[in-house]
Amino acid sequence: MISSDVIRGYNDTMILYLLLDEPSYGYEISKRIRELTHEKYVMKETTLYSAFKRMESNGYIESFSGSETNGKPRTYYKITQEGKKYYKERCEEWEITREVIEKFIVEENNHEYN
């Protein structure tokens, strides 16, 4: 399980990515992160919730209450235009970050740790 500072800086990016297609709720997001990363990264509940709150106050996401077909009421989050813009910025930033860091990574190690 990864818990480095680098990945923590990209929590917002992951959450926004998962909200791009459709609104979602807390557990579903954390589950999809776990699945997409093959359980290499598990986001803690408190981390997820504080990310929601922070992005909500920044206007990147909006919350609304809804329920699934089986009727359990949940707080859903959906991405805003602001959020999409922010997501794009984060992606571009990552591209640069990756380019920069890759200069310093030895090839074999890169394969090994991929």
Binding site: G26, Y27, K31, K44, E45, T46, Y49
Partner: protein
Amino acid sequence: MNTIRNYLDNMFLGLPQTEDVARAKKELLAMMEDKYNELKNNGKTENEAIGIVISEFGNLDELGDTLGIKQVIENKTDIPLVTYEEAKDYIDESRATAPKTALGVLLCIISPVTLLFLIGLKELNVVHAKEDLLIAAGLVVLICLVATGVLHFIRYTSKLEKYEYLKFNVFELDYKAEEMVRNIQKQDDPTYKAAVSISVVCYILSALPVIVTPLVSEIDGLSVIAVTITLIIVALSTYNLINKSSYYEPCNVLLQQGDYSAKNKSNKTFQTVSKVYWCVIVAVYLGYSFITNNWRMSWIIWPVAGVLFGAIKAISEGR
């Protein structure tokens, strides 16, 4: 699922009850519940599911900034937590020692009874011993009773000493313990109120022998003996009151209500004043009585001091 709910309750213990905090708790619980249900559906055992959910919960510190309660979360560790076991022990021990400390008080109050009784008998001419001898005998009994009473005091109050901080410091009570204490208090409330009523009525009635005797008879000795009856009634009422208040007071201490509210605890001046006050009263009582030998009047200091104490307390709280 209850374990998870309890865990979350514990994490949120002592945080301010703002809307944001309540919402955060609700959301976190929903996420944990979803995760728990899915783990159970995937064939995990109860314990495994709970273990995973709790280990992946994270840390409330992360929420401090977002909820505007950073200050509170950082200071939270400064306040001691009283657990269920500690609370239970405190209540049990208070109840066990109450009859004994009450007995100590009773002995102190009735300590002058023999002395007064002998003086009364002498004045009634029932006994013909020398007055000095009677006074000496009465004083010996008085000193013995006070000594026994004080020993009782020291012995049994020192047993509760380790819990003293509960009375003077602000603490946090475990939520399970709080429930337990509230139930006990609710259950014993009628017993306590009945005991207080009986004692108060007895206190009032205790004045009767002293008031009525002079009206009925002119003989000096009788009024002295009337005082002994008054003292015995006062002693028994006080015993009852102290004993039964052990069913109530520890609950108030633990729930930090009444005299033990966080507000009163910060009022250190009053705590000091009250300690000094009672020491001074005891010193004045013993000093005056031994010097003037006026034992038949000096006991009046007790009801007067009690009422005066009430006034001092009211002034200190009104500030």
